[in-house]
Amino acid sequence: MSQLGSLSLLLALLLAVYSIAANLYGARQQRADFLASARHALWATCALVTLAVIALWSGLLSSDFSLEYVAAYSSTTLPTPYKFAALWGGQQGSLLFWTWLLSIFTSIAAFQNRRRNPEIAPYAAAVLALVAIFFLGMLNFVTRPFDSLSLVPGEGTDLNPLLQNYWMAIHPPSLYTGYVSSTVPFAFGAAALITGKLDDSWIRSTRRWAIFSWFFLTLGNMFGARWAYEVLGWGGYWAWDPVENAAFMPWLVMTAYLHSVMIQERKDMLKVWNLALIGLAFALTIFGTFITRSGVISSVHSFTQSGLGPYFLSFLILVVVAYTGLLIFRSRDLRSPAEFESYLSREAAFLFNNLVLVGIAFAVFWGTIFPVLSEAVRGVKITVGPPFFNQVNGPLALALIFLMGVGPLIAWRRTTPRNLIQSFAAPATLGLAAGLLAFAFHIRAWYVLAALSVAAFVMGTIIVEFRRGVSARRHMIGEAPATALVNLVAKNNRRYGGYIIHIGVIVAFVGIVGSAFFKTEVKKTVSEGQSFAVGPYRLQYLGVLPIDTPHLESATANLLVTRDGRELAQMAPAKLFYKRQQQPATKVAIRSTPFADLYVVLAGLDDSGRQATFEVFLTPLVFWLWGGGLLMVLGTVVVMWPNVRERAAIAVALHGAADSQIAGEPAPGGD
């Protein structure tokens, strides 16, 4: 299978090169046969990379330790689901997985555009193939997943124990899907710049791809946070690790892009800015990969002993220079008749929303690279960790949430101060009431008071919007309230799906504030039968259960949780020892409620098991962080749901503009 895998990757590289030549020749000479041939080459590339992935999975599942990768990241005792997940557990495999996703998305984009966008689609496909060539080049010549060992070991080293968790089985694929799918809008943006076809056809063609990418970046970040929360055992979910930052930055930039394209769609403004944002989002995904694989910045996620940094840095520089060059080259053509009347307008709110989003992305980028800069300037490598990021991003996040409430309630073009007061009176009262209520509950931290007030204000603006829409339907169509609400969302899914996402952000924000500011921690050593208090709870240590399997040894403590003498639950935190990697790990126990999470870590255990040390965190409102994430996912599904009216409008545009191919967006996921 290893020869098959290697051969597949080599053929895939050759076909990707051919597809670029065929696409460029076909587009310049208007030869449909060459364009079709290029498309078939891209599909064949995808099939060959799929074959390579199957070959590596086959090696992992059959524990073929003659393959260096399998010997390094698997073992005979590794549970089967993690043998699958080992594909992205190591450097070569994760690059292969990235390339596989890229080849799939490229094939889908080629299929969607087989009869539309004839001016830019071949160039977009060529850009996609160019990116694939970089990754295929790495897999063929630099970091080969099918290298064999001359001396075959009897057993593999096993997958890193931290990765042996179900969240880890889904976190990297989600994040990679988000990263890689951002290549499609980037490629269409680049194609628009190359061809000079600079209207919003590239945006329409890739709008769903951008939302799709944002969706998976959101999922990936959420799953990663949940993984950290359940596996790392420190009671938190976000450590501002460089690789976490690398995943967060494209999400921020993509969020900015999804807002600013609305201005271009509506008012034909911000063409340069939108092209710059999509280029930046893609560059940041490569930057993230560079960080993970270069060793330049130390991170808990880094792939060790990697010499790939210079390749990724070169590719990153090439992308940034070429793309910026194209932007400058086309700058004259990108000028559009700007219409801006007032700072009290939705355009202005969106502009400042973009500023803050990109500002936060910059702050994260700056904090991530500052240790390198400090070392270069002063010769001292310092650490930039959570205190920096929390303090810098805290006020910016507050401004962002505030603008999230302002934007939807003010008009395009301009609003008078009187109208503004009218629109905001009720939400502002709600915000003020929330702040006063928090103050009455003895909350004195200014940030918490401000955060809760702003969150309530924004929630108020969204409630006003829903109430207004439902009310209009009830009066004009006579629908019942629940039916009116469902139909309102169904028939205006882009707008109300967006609001659902905003509700999710607010809910998650409240969860973050609550868990960051009100967490309490207790560390206690107790003997069997003894109990101790954590907030309103009492925890009694009942004993330990040792388990020994060929894969790991574990010691699971049994704790009885009571409140006011009433039995609530039994919790089972454990200490694990992975035999192959000779590595200890912890398994936390979490009792989650909407009010607070009780989070228990078995920190120590004496030899007899009679005495145990527990680290317990009582974290308020963290439940809502995950709830907010789910709402964001739900909102995105609503936004992406095919809308009959939108399709009809697209069809009209398609037939109405024979010279323009922008509107042909038939396939789901295609516009």
Binding site: S342, Q391, V392, W412, M476, K523, A585, A603
Partner: protein, 169 residues
């Protein structure tokens, strides 16, 4: 350019003040009520994980585990957060801190994000003012009556509903 500077200068000063205030905040908080969580979040683990002492995920870490115990003991003896952090800084150097200090070149770390946002804001204001002075903007504003976003949306919604009613009948 002059105009750009005109907008950037006050915003820049604001950003500087803001970042100074923020830079001082951590120390104040640490001094007010030290807990194991807040103090250990201020120190970087030296085992190579790159995380803070609070966040290090190695159960048998040779650095974070004893340091956490030591911090608890120092808090028990009544030492302030700032004192504990200063102790470790003296022992291991600046690398043990989990955030840049607010001295010398490190100040750049704190100031730059706010400065960039302030400059970005100035560019937006400058560009928007230029757009506002364009004839197109002046012309439309004289004709269009200003309305709230709600009213604008109400009109759009009513149009859509009217269309929906037509489609039903």
């Amino acid at each position: 350019m002059k105009r750009l500077l005109f907008y950037a200068a006050p915003l820049g000063v604001l950003a500087l003040l803001f970042s100074f205030a923020l830079g001082g905040d951590l120390a104040v908080r640490a001094a007010e009520r030290p807990t194991l969580a807040t103090v250990s979040q201020g120190l970087t683990c030296q085992c190579g994980c790159g995380l803070t002492v609070a966040n290090c995920n190695h159960p048998t870490c040779s650095f974070s585990v004893p340091v956490r115990e030591q911090i608890e003991s120092m808090i028990g003896k009544g030492e302030s957060g700032a004192q504990i952090i200063a102790f470790y800084r003296q022992k291991y150097g600046e690398k043990v801190l989990s955030a840049p200090t607010t001295e010398g070149f490190n100040m750049v770390a704190w100031v730059m994000p706010f400065l960039v946002v302030a400059l970005g804001g100035a560019v937006i204001v400058y560009t928007a003012n230029r757009w506002r002075s364009l004839p197109a903007a002046r012309g439309t504003s004289a004709v269009q009556s200003p309305e709230s976003g709600a009213a604008q949306f109400d009109a759009e919604l009513k149009d859509r509903l009217a269309q929906e009613i037509r489609e039903r009948s």
